[in-house]
């Protein structure tokens, strides 16, 4: 840790903190948005969650210098926010995932019918993901992000790396069972 020998002027310090915060927004806003959207599956809610995460960072900007890995720290903040929002949203009527996905997912060179079929398929997969136990579901969703290694997922979820691997193994098997079961019903 750097020891400030000379007292720093408060205004200069505030200015430096604002610059650090601005750099964090530019660098990690997209990542945080994707993490939030993977849980909330609503663009507006995901953006609100990212906004709330950075406001929390603003309130605790004094401790920015003590953060070891700012990316994992930010992901952990937004992860807790979206889980809390998801928990509260259970009391509200669920939004139509299929239409929302059809609107959000990229549709390069696809017809409207193909887009609708793809959206329906993705919604079905996500519905199977929602049926997983919470621990396995969280690991599976975080592992879909290319930016996160298993060590970083363990840091975000505050568990060990071996737990991440075992939960991921169980999640994959459960997911396969759910998909096979739904196929057999068709």
């Amino acid at each position: 840790m750097d020891i400030a020998e000379n007292p720093v002027h408060p205004q200069a310090r505030t200015h430096a903190e604002e610059e650090v915060l601005s750099a964090l927004v530019s660098q990690y806003a997209g990542t945080l948005y994707r993490v939030a959207f993977s849980v909330l599956r609503n663009p507006a809610d995901a953006e609100d969650a990212v906004q709330e995460a950075f406001i929390r960072v603003l309130r605790h900007r004094d401790t920015l210098g003590e953060v070891r890995d700012q990316r994992v720290w930010l992901i952990r903040i937004v992860w807790n926010i979206v889980l809390d929002r998801k928990r509260r949203a259970k009391t509200r009527p669920e939004t139509d995932d299929v239409s929302e996905l059809a609107r959000v997912l990229p549709a390069g060179g696809l017809t409207a019918e193909q887009i609708a079929c793809a959206a329906q398929h993705h919604a079905h997969v996500l519905a199977c993901v929602d049926q997983l136990p919470a621990k396995e579901r969280q690991v599976l969703m975080l592992s879909a992000f290319e930016e996160l290694t298993s060590v970083e997922i363990a840091e975000v979820l505050a568990i060990t790396e071996s737990s991440v691997r075992s939960r991921l193994f169980r999640a994959r098997n459960l997911m396969a069972d759910l998909l096979n079961h739904s196929r057999s019903l068709r």
Binding site: I3, A4, P7, V8, P10, R13, L21, S22, V25, S26, A29, G30, Y33, R34, F37, S38, R41, P43, E47, V50, Q51, F54, I55, L58, R59, D62, T63, G65, V104, L105, H121, H122, V125, L126, C128, V129, L140, M141, S143, A144, F145, E146, E147, L148, T149, S150, I153, V164, R165, L168, F169, R172, N173, M175, A176, D177, L179
Partner: protein, 176 residues
């Protein structure tokens, strides 16, 4: 997907490719246009709307966390030591004061109930019910009444006079 944690090995590769594709698609969605600008605007608004810090109990600038922490830590340590001294001194004062009035170590045992097997009175004492006497409004004053002088015309009983019945009996006896 991340090749390190998500690479489907032979044991856990049961997850179908389409499901992985869905998760990967969700995880790689591009951020909406203007997201950073909106976040910056929101942060500026939040900074202006940030409530003022407490003025009465706020940390002095030298003690605020993250600022001049070397001096701040020393001052905080001194303040903590002072608080400990005050608390310990107060506790010792109370202890010393209570110790002076410590009751004697001898403990009086309650009287045992009667060993004869009867009911005991449990230490109760009978207090006779007394009546409330008249209240004296004026205080008593010692009044000395003078001794009565014998009246002059008071008739002294004669020793030869007899009561009526006794006199009659005596007269009858005399006539006989």
């Amino acid at each position: 997907m991340n090749p390190n944690p998500l690479a489907p090995d032979s044991a856990s590769g049961a997850l179908s490719g389409s499901a992985e594709e869905t998760l990967r698609l969700i995880a790689s969605l591009p951020a909406p246009q203007g997201l950073e600008d909106r976040i910056h605007a929101g942060l500026r608004a939040a900074e202006h709307a940030e409530p003022h810090r407490a003025r009465i109990l706020a940390w002095p600038p030298a003690l605020r966390p993250g600022r001049n922490w070397v001096h701040g830590a020393a001052l905080r340590s001194a303040a903590a030591a002072a608080i400990v001294c005050v608390v310990a001194g107060g506790g010792w004062g109370i202890y010393a004061r209570v110790q002076q009035h410590r009751p004697s170590s001898a403990v009086t045992l309650p009287a045992h109930p009667a060993a004869s097997g009867g009911f005991s009175n449990a230490g109760a004492m009978r207090v006779p019910q007394t009546l409330n006497g008249p209240m004296l409004i004026h205080p008593l004053t010692a009044v000395q009444t003078p001794a009565k002088a014998p009246a002059r015309n008071a008739r002294k009983p004669l020793h030869h006079e007899l009561p009526n019945a006794a006199g009659k009996a005596a007269a009858q006896a005399a006539t006989k």
